[in-house]
Amino acid sequence: MFNLFLLQLLNGAQFGILLFLVAAGLTLVFGIMDFINLAHGVLYMVGAYLMATFAGMTGNYWLGLMLALPATLIFGLVLEFLVFRRLYDRSHLDQVLATFGLILMLSEGVRILWGSAPLNVEMPELLSGSVPLAGPLKYPVYRIAVIAAGLASAVGLWALINHTRAGMLLRAGASNRPMVAALGVDISRLFMLVFAGGAMLAGFAGAIVAPILSVDPGMGESILILTFVVIVIGGVGSIRGAFLAAILVGVVDTVGRTFGPIWLRMVMDPSAAAQTGRMLAPMLVYLLMAAVLFYSPTGLFGRRGAK
């Protein structure tokens, strides 16, 4: 029982790390540019598809990853150049409409190019297999590698934001946009950097998750909505909030699905527990979001006093 819990906890953490990678760029885009981008999940999807393509073409996971990352970055920059930068000054409604159109278009484009059937990516030999955890329990090396890679990215991001000039501007911009403009910083370049970084992280998340998840045209959308939940809980513009909220959402979602029915069995009869558990599990993260919002409308680390 404890072993199962540990296993789910790790799975939850791994899922949370992925959510964080997608959410990190998006929360900055929201915070700094006040720009609602529904199409961010597309970058995650494109990252996974490019990974599948390049890994398949070269027959090598590492080569695939090295090609997929810059390709996603370029794709993101092209999107920024062609579409997003024209939307920063528009109303939220325009932003919603245009980025929604982009989702429709790109999802369909992916379907045309790669088909609707899920694709598989081979795990690299180096990271396949399992390591013993506690007692008889084993855990796949690849998932541990995902967690490690995500944590490394988070630490890198943290260092970037707290110890560089660009990071300082980002922090200032996320909490006070006019101030950054007043400092005479080239805002459009800052925006592009933020966007490129966000695209890269989302693409990275898509690429490294490809071997353990099927790559399909709907993957960008399912993660997008959970990313929103993460950002709302963490507070728009807060990287720290996004990290904590992502881990929280990942763990609550994963552990809740397995342990919800088990724990409910302590207070109700088994069949009712199973039924209620099945019903509540997928709603848990949303209820969590509602609870956080009830306590603080701007999330855990959002700007206070921003009405």
Partner: protein, 321 residues
Amino acid sequence: MSRFAPQIAPRLKAALAILVLMALVPVAAHAIGDPFLSVIANRMLVFAIAALSLDLILGYGAMVSFGHAAYLGFGAYAVALGARWGVTDLLAQILLGMVFSAAFALVTGAISLRTRGVYFIMITLAFAQMAYFFFVSQGSLGGDDGVALQGRSTLLGLSLDGDVTLYYVTLGALALVYAGLYRLTGSRFGRVLKGTRENSLRMQAMGYRPFPYQLVAYVIAGCLCSVAGVLLANLTEYVSPAYMGWHRSGEMIVMLVFGGIGTLTGAMAGALVAVGLEEVLAAFSEHWRLGFGLALVLVVLFSPEGLTGLAKRLGIGGKHG
């Protein structure tokens, strides 16, 4: 009142003309011998009701809700659940759908409306997704796959099995929703809603607290949309969580903007045209979303003020409104 006469009467006339024109569709379909035309037209009417309800909050209230399809789902599931509980009357099912919707809108609206801007958009989307997953997890209602209905509802003993009967009932519902919203938007309540959209701070300085008005509008919009859901379930004789997916919410916004936001006649016309267009495009190519999405992006980018240009001139749809 007379002051408005020259301004509003043409719109009211246009709305009447649209309704009359739609009333002739089954006749035309019969004449050319294509009964499927009525089914498509019926679908158009259903979404016109949904778009009208969304216009109340998005157009008149400037609340960009990205989760309105949830209420379509509540209405549809009210039919499935009603039938299961032996409630087959359309009106009773509408009432049931409204009760679900009102409860959901009251709770989620009270939380969402404490926030603004990007938060509001994300939160309404997330709550709708929660409702979606709720129904996906209901194995007894078919879960992900949904459930086929045994038959259509009855209206005060009248069977709606005939497509033409259902069509005119839907048309009647659309006319009633239009008339109700026409009155509402001209009423005291409607004025407060519009005023808040124009300048919330000014309204507070007049002595209003916007929150209860916005919340009530949010609940009304949800209830009206559930009527569309009840009719949609009857039309397709099928109920599934897909009705409340977030794509549907997005499409509803597109429909609304298509015809001009913040005007009831525009919302109605926009939905009719958009659904019709969708049917045509879908018949043309299975990849119609590619072109549809591209068109949407291009229109927003290259029309001088975007699709909401008109809305902006009215002072709504702004970032901080």
